[in-house]
Symmetry: D2
Subunit: 134 residues, 4 copies
């Protein structure tokens, strides 16, 4: 698993462009983080919604692919609560439902104080069937 | 309106980072576009979901703010259909419902052939009340 | 197609319970309607969000199944705009993207005046593959 | 608070029509349940998506209104995992973010075995400002 993940994350040029780091990974789980830069800000000077989404989407992708079955996002929903305080933002992804072809993974985005910043929920479609039937 | 928009878009460092361009703007409407670069690709070599979302989110922000009332996204939903073909992706945003405090704006993302790539729907919250009561 | 749809709609006890009627159906399309009753209202006297959703969900189900491939909703998103005026509410469903295993269908809910009441977007998963590969 | 809730739930004719019961309520929290009836089933004999949504929406409404500030749903997202087993379905709602004008509330829907059936996330808009500024 770790090799696949390393490959998948090494090939992710967008994570590199945005400065997203993978902090932890397990089957159906991941933790990603981002140190906020000036070029991550929107017109009103807070962390851009697209950056928050990209961080969450990255954590989602790692979590749903960590079992070894190629899985694509077909839908994602994000609710924004408040701008983050402090220099680092973290996204923690957990697969909450895993079927043969469809899965659901939620991602909590928190700032350095642990205050919730946003919540992401994604639906993944598995391109191949898991080997153990689930 | 145009001056506000120019200011808002000039201050958007993320649009600059990602190479997003504003092609058209009107009240409750915008068209944004992106020329796909190598560092926009995900681990499997197609345009990253976070980049597609960021392009749509930018078009949303311009459209919902184009009337002059500061408006924030509180929720966004995106469905992904297929990877884009050709070098350019376009996002066309239209406000479909506009209340005193809450609005809804949809964004169609299409590739160079005009084929639908994704659909975005965002809920905006207006920080101040529109001057004409709407 | 019509026979399958008749069977599917005849077996839908919830549509019967709520008074939902199918007004039109075609491949990837449907129109459903509802005459508002007293027991469709919420605590503040307007049409219940769950009834609006159920009407839209019914239109979605007919539209995505009208091609003959059994299709289930895996995710749905609804935005509410304003309470309907007049006695009848209509939901018009259109499939906007149709892949081998996943499809997306949008539903516009309007009141008797044609004013938008809500917008629904659903992701469907096809239990079998369409015979013509699409 | 309890009186307001009793009034709100007593006036909810849809809950009565569908057989939804309120099992517990607290500030920012509720638990609702439903005993599955024949007329809750869809064309393929499982609990109708619109009924699951309505149960979750009811739990959402009670939880977001339990603090005494009138709050409306402006957006809701639901992911369906699997049909419920056993005669009873429960929806547990928790407000996860509460701002002055906007809140977010998640609802977990589980069957009699405690197996997740669906997950609902709603965005609420407060019609008046909370008395204590939050």
């Amino acid at each position: 698993m770790k090799e696949d993940m390393t490959k998948l994350t090494q090939n992710d040029r967008v994570a590199e462009l945005l400065g997203i780091r993978l902090a932890a990974v397990d089957i159906g789980y991941s933790l990603a983080e981002l140190t906020i830069r000036q070029d991550h800000l929107n017109g009103v000077g807070t962390l851009h919604g697209g950056i928050i989404f990209s961080l969450a989407d990255y954590a989602f992708a790692v979590a749903v692919n960590s079992g070894g079955v190629p899985t694509l996002a077909v839908n994602a929903n994000i609710s924004y609560f408040k701008p983050p305080r402090g220099p680092v933002v973290r996204a923690e992804a957990k697969v909450i439902s895993s079927g043969r072809k469809v899965c659901c993974c939620e991602v909590e985005i928190r700032d350095d104080d642990g205050t919730p910043v946003a919540k992401f929920s994604g639906t993944g479609y598995r391109k191949t069937v898991p080997s153990k039937g689930e």
